[in-house]
């Protein structure tokens, strides 16, 4: 089955290396999905900012996005950004690595967001 490319995926972390590392892990099982990332601030510092996250959202080819993040300030910036973009964001308060990996593998297999969310439910930690 073809990968689900209608639904994209965005990773948000305080540090560029974290999203780079998770992307590497994910790409091994999900080479065809729409994946973009925002690691660190626009200025390259540790942290998150709305502008940088918005960039990752705009760069993604999909209009419906599943979003995964590391710590609380990323979540707050994501909520802010939700009001600033026309795309539809679904934020998951799940374990970052496990959640992103699960969603990526299932998107690659062509699963719908609703199906994937069933797998994500037990991974909720925040």
């Amino acid at each position: 089955m073809a990968a689900n490319t209608q639904t994209g995926m965005v990773l948000v972390s305080h540090v560029p290396e974290i999203v780079a590392g998770i992307s590497k892990l994910i790409r091994q099982v999900a080479p065809d999905i729409n994946l973009t990332t925002a690691g660190g601030t626009s200025d390259g510092d540790i942290g998150t900012d709305a502008t940088h996250i918005l960039q990752a959202i705009d760069d993604n080819h999909a209009d419906e996005l599943m979003v995964f993040y590391d710590l609380g300030s990323a979540k707050m910036n994501l909520d802010l950004v939700t009001d600033m973009t026309d795309k539809t964001l679904h934020r998951y308060d799940v374990a970052f690595v496990e959640g992103a990996y699960t969603a990526a593998a299932l998107l690659q297999a062509g699963d719908s967001r609703a199906e994937i969310e069933k797998q994500l439910a037990p991974l909720k930690i925040k």
Binding site: I46, D49, T51, S73, M76, N77, D79
Partner: protein, 193 residues
Amino acid sequence: MNVEQVKQWMQLYQTEIEKNKDYLSQLDTDIGDGDHGNNMARGVDAVAAGLAKDNPADLAQTFKSIAMSLISKVGGASGPLYGTAFLEMAKAAKDSESDIPTLLQAAADGVAKRGGAKVGDKTMVDVWTPAAQDAKAGQLNAANIDKLVEATKPLRALKGRASYLGERSIGHLDPGAVSTGMLLKTLLQATAK
């Protein structure tokens, strides 16, 4: 409150943050990642530059300009929180509100909603929410603000980065509560006649 007072407020706050940058970072080192002073300094510098560039004509535009600078430049959790506070004040000002208690209530509600923290969670909400009530009662003054800030010390953090420390967060002031106290005290100075 008018545009001139808000500009004056932001100047006073910038001076206060610069003076206390290391202190705020030290507080954040005790129970966080040590960047709060730097985050806020970056934020207030961006606010000054943004106001100079935007040259806002009314209260709503002034608050909006401040909000956008904070949202895009602070970097830490305090960015979206303070950014939301000023965005909510911009919305209230757009509805022709300009009295301080009303604006502060809008800001406080915005911060609480954005972060999902309640009073007692050892965050800046511990200052924002009761300070808005004090303002409504005509009792917002420096002494009351200091009391709210001090009250965060014995608490255990339930939100934000400090919450990962559990019991170890007890006995330290919350850095965001301290910077919020400074924001409110400089507001009083800027609007005192």
